[in-house]
């Protein structure tokens, strides 16, 4: 704890250099804890209602393995490339950081594209938010995650613009690190959507 006395510590990675940055990062972890609670309520609603399909299709009839797997692999790979971006940042390489952030963005955009196509496909099959309790809770849960990913894409674009304008500073490094936490977290949520919504839906 002797370290806490230093306001500026040269031995740490850029994003941890100032006390303000360290507190920002800790604060973001607290926010992620609240996000876990938010998604927990949506998962609870979905898991309570997912067999209430009314006159609409069941999960088993609706879900397609291939589409779900493509979305899963796109998001998982984007989480990996986002990790590589932070790795490059810690080596002090701005170009590597920007390259991997851009790859992450493209994979994220690919994920959203496939998700929107999936939703449109469902609606064309007559499976809309109004069809059944299963579909209402499905669209709210998966849609909330998709909205988070869309927000993450916009956020990451802004961070890239700042990096281009200001370069790697303790401040921009901290912002990159925080957006990376957000991005990885979205993959954590998706792992549970993949497992509890799609795989479980295809089993039961």
């Amino acid at each position: 704890m002797a370290e806490a006395a230093h306001r500026y510590d040269e031995t740490m990675p850029l994003e941890y250099r100032t006390q303000e940055s360290r507190l920002n990062i800790l604060g973001f972890w607290i926010f992620l804890g609240a996000e876990v609670a938010l998604f927990a309520t949506l998962f609870a609603t979905y898991l309570v209602l997912f067999q209430r399909t009314g006159s609409g299709p069941t999960a088993k009839e609706l879900f397609e393995v291939k589409d779900v797997l493509i979305e899963t692999l796109l998001l998982l790979t984007s989480s990996f490339t986002c990790g590589l971006a932070v790795f490059e940042m810690r080596r002090g390489r701005l170009s590597g950081l920007l390259t991997w952030l851009l790859v992450t963005l493209l994979l994220g955009a690919g994920f959203i594209t496939f998700e929107i196509r999936e939703f449109i496909h469902y609606v064309h099959e007559g499976a809309t938010m109004q069809t059944s309790a299963f579909l209402s809770s499905f669209f709210v849960l998966v849609g909330t995650h998709g909205a988070h990913v869309s927000l993450g894409i916009g956020w990451m674009i802004l961070i890239i613009i700042q990096l281009l304008q200001r370069g790697l500073t303790p401040r921009t490094a901290r912002k990159v690190f925080i957006v990376s936490l957000y991005w990885h977290f979205l993959d954590v949520v998706w792992i549970f959507i993949f497992t509890l919504v799609y795989l479980t839906g295809m089993v039961i």
């Binding site: 704890m1 370290e3 806490a4 040269e10 031995t11 740490m12 990675p13 941890y16 360290r22 990062i25 800790l26 972890w29 607290i30 992620l32 804890g33 609240a34 876990v36 609670a37 998604f39 927990a40 309520t41 998962f43 609870a44 609603t45 898991l47 309570v48 393995v65 797997l69 899963t72 692999l73 998982l76 790979t77 989480s79 990996f80 986002c82 990790g83 590589l84 790795f87 810690r90 080596r91 990376s180 936490l181 990885h184 977290f185 993959d187 954590v188 792992i191 549970f192 993949f194 497992t195 509890l196 795989l199 479980t200 295809m202 089993v203 039961i204």
Partner: protein, 99 residues
């Protein structure tokens, strides 16, 4: 504590995390679709696989335990997952008594 400026030249941690995540994803897929186990067993196994994969993300990609506040961060996330389990399992169990 756990973080310093000593750089690795190759992102081994990330690559290992990524490969394990892929393996866990495909393992879950196989268990769900091709293992022929009972629904209860399948869901138990794939939930465990999901928890392992989520932990990989938290530890290997998000560096949860690094920095001075690593402990606070870890306790915070553990507590939030506890809340999640209570909310989800509690709701499902309660509502299992409704027709």
């Amino acid at each position: 504590m756990g973080v310093n400026n000593h750089h690795e030249t190759f992102p081994w941690k990330h690559i290992v995390g990524f490969i394990f995540s892929l393996l866990l994803t495909f393992a879950a897929l196989w268990v769900a679709l091709s293992s022929g186990l009972s629904a209860g067993a399948i869901i138990g196994i794939i939930v465990i696989l999901a928890v392992i994969q989520a932990s990989l993300q938290l530890f290997m990609f998000m560096h949860m335990t690094e920095s001075d506040s690593g402990k606070i961060q870890t306790i915070n996330m553990a507590y939030s997952f506890f809340i999640a389990v209570v909310v989800v399992a509690g709701s499902v169990w309660t509502m299992s008594f409704v027709l």
